[in-house]
């Protein structure tokens, strides 16, 4: 096998792998830009994956089958919004410590999804999932075509989301408010920005994207559900936000880097190189830690008030 085929193989698996991470970490980026970090991302993804899977599973042989995926995706977004709202209630209104609340949300989402799955489904069952939609002409470009223009709808949406969320964050009044309440909420408050409302909005938006990331895992990637389907991706997504310095393009880079490393380690296992596979499996995670450790810290660009609840009447 020559090198080019190997690289193409690695990328053809790695690029679709990156979609779930990209969606989840873009959502987490909005949360953190507004000053709230949501460690419950993983739990929301589990719920999203389960609710997206269920219609596809239940409606498989009915007349509604063609709409099953859309219903599932809508359900995943809705549950993400609901969890985001719940998290906002706990951390913004009741000012609970965000780390603990996030871990709670993660355990809750993960546990509920697994329990419901065992109760209603039980064993491993496949679903048709999302079909790839090759883009006419572009998908016929050699090498690049099959890699970038033969993906499913959610994947395209995720990549379009990168410039879109950059624009929203840096060029719209809402993005300006989000950045202000995450950096200096008191200043935003004196300028008439409703800090709580903005944080609620950002948390709901972030939750929706995490739910969508879950839907991608069950419908777009695995085409099945298992209660460990998310497998730590929610936490990797949180790490990627720091890695990407709260910038959508850098987060895209981080998602791709991690996913390609992941598919690279799978590929070398398949090649049968005499290399302990345990180390190969570690590779992407080690990579994230090393890169995070080497990224220079910068307080001037990120949300300085990350993790701190805001209370207007608190004396300073």
């Amino acid at each position: 096998m020559n090198i080019l085929t190997f690289v193409v193989n690695v990328l053809s698996i790695g690029i679709p792998f990156s979609v779930a991470l990209l969606l989840a970490s873009t959502g987490e980026m909005f949360n953190q830009r507004a000053g709230v970090f949501n460690l419950g991302c993983e739990g929301i993804m589990s719920m999203g994956a389960f609710l997206a899977f269920m219609p596809a599973h239940l409606l498989q042989n009915t007349s509604l089958a063609p709409y099953a995926n859309l219903i599932g995706i809508a359900a995943a977004i809705a549950i993400g919004a609901l969890f985001g709202l719940l998290f906002a209630l706990v951390t913004v209104t009741f000012r609970a410590p965000q780390g603990i609340a996030g871990i709670g949300l993660h355990m809750f989402g993960w546990g509920v999804a697994g329990t419901l799955f065992r109760y209603f489904v039980g064993g491993v069952t496949g679903v048709p999932g999302l079909k790839n939609l090759p883009i006419p002409l572009l998908s016929r470009i050699p090498i690049i075509g099959p890699l970038l223009f033969n993906l499913n709808g959610l994947a395209y949406a995720a990549f379009i989301l990168v410039p879109a969320s950059w624009y929203i964050l840096f060029k719209t009044p809402w993005g300006l408010k989000v950045r202000a309440v995450g950096t200096y909420p008191r200043a935003a408050d004196t300028m008439g920005v409703n800090v709580s409302r903005t944080r609620y909005q950002a948390l709901v938006a972030g939750g929706m994207l995490a739910g969508l990331a879950g839907a991608y895992l069950s419908l777009g990637q695995a085409k099945m559900f298992a209660d460990d389907i998310v497998a730590g991706r929610g936490f990797i997504a949180v790490a990627l936000v720091y890695f990407g310095r709260w910038n959508p393009y850098l987060i895209l880079g981080g998602s791709l880097l991690f996913s390609v490393a992941q598919s690279f380690q799978l590929a070398i296992q398949v090649l049968g190189i005499r290399f302990p596979y345990e180390f190969a499996v570690m590779l992407p995670y080690v990579l994230v830690i090393v890169v995070l450790a080497l990224t220079p810290g910068s307080v001037t660009r990120g949300p300085a008030e990350l993790g701190k609840p805001f209370d207007r009447e608190k004396r300073v």
């Binding site: 200096y184 200043a187 008439g192 001037t300």
Partner: protein
Amino acid sequence: MNNEPIHSLAVEGITKRFPGILACDSISLDVGEHEILAIVGENGAGKTTLMNILMGLYQPDEGKILINGREVHFRTPVDAYATGIGMVHQHFMLVPNLTVAENVLLGMREFQKFLWQDMEGVRKRIREISERYNLPVQPDAYIWQLSVGEQQRVELVKTLCLGARFLILDEPTSALTPQETDDLIALLKRMSSDLSIIFISHKLAEVTALSDRIAILRQGKVVYRGTTSGQSVSNLASLMTGHEVVLPCNECTGGSGETILEIRNLKVRSDRGFFALDGLSLSLQKGEILGLAGVSGNGQRELADALAGLRKVESGSILFRKKELANKSPRSIIEAGIGYIPEDRNEEGIVPPFNVRDNLILKDFRSKHFCKGPFFRFDETRQNAEELQKRFDIRCASLNVAAGSLSGGNIQKVILARELARKPEVLIAVYPTRGLDMGAEEFIHERLLELRSQGTAILLISEELDELLNLSDRIAVIFKGKILATMPTRETSKKKLGLLMAGISGEGAA
């Protein structure tokens, strides 16, 4: 936004309670059109709380706000801005990672569209305001790139852009250099032909220079209301503190002649990597106060850090009793007998969540006196704290409250008590009275002079020329990391120091 002019603004019977504190106690005040009212009071007198109520940031427990004789209710700052009241807060309300224009846009609904923002409109408004009031600002600069003085200008421009015709300035000069302060006062005088201004301060010289009328608050109550003219600074000071204030003076001059600390050719880098100290030499004698004057940012922070062992010395030496201290650990410097009152009292001077008792032994917790093996002797630490509390008049509810909850003046007394109790041979005091009221300032000055008479050498780093002239035996001027001149205090003047601080050395100017 309604454009009804504000002919008068009054508050009546405003009361606001915080847990355990009565911040405002039935306060009544009024301001007329084109008038400058100064609100004066010590830290914690309730000035800022009152203004936050006026801006709709806090809700009053009792009392009302009247504009042109009609009662108004401000639920949020938007309501206050809508009637034309704007405030420049003591801690600037500017988001550091946004540009000047973005900060202004945050409060301007008319330029916020659904899917885009009218940045050109905002820039135009900023340029209009900055030309009209002669306040130069760059709309596209990031806040974190600006100096404190520039940020102050941005705050003013921002508030005016939002349509304020009635300005509240909360201690606007507390972070400014002397030159910037003079500029600001001149500017506000010009602006008062156009606007009404409430000016909050505890620096009485500024108040008498600027205001038409004055209101003095003490412990949440108005203790004096009247016109400014005819009031002397010392009279106002005693009204403000409730007792006669006499800032002490250094009467005798000259140290013992015995050099105790010798800094030679010191080179130290700043956080950004350039040489903030570029071959600085200075010597300190036993029993003298050496004042170090200079506009902040000329190497003072780096010098203090290097002397305390908190910053790497690239070259040169710090000789204490002929022993090298450069690049020694903070612990060995502390043990050598050097005391340190840091610039940032909350970040470096205390551990804010620790209680007062523990903060008082931060440098001595290892000593046999305070511990037995791995355990504290709680009786000793308590006794130590009680003694120091009495000697240094530290006012706190109990010695077990978190030190960070004390007022600035009391935090500084905790630090002073800890450092002075160690009987240091050399004390480095960095801006020891910055942001403090006159009562606390008086107390700290007395303690420093007392320490000097006991033979301690004090390096006093300050920007307040009055403080330096009152306390120092000699004054050195630092400029761009070098000492420009050192002279006995009696041979200098404010004017001479001001020129030197601006980098104009005597020979060059003459």
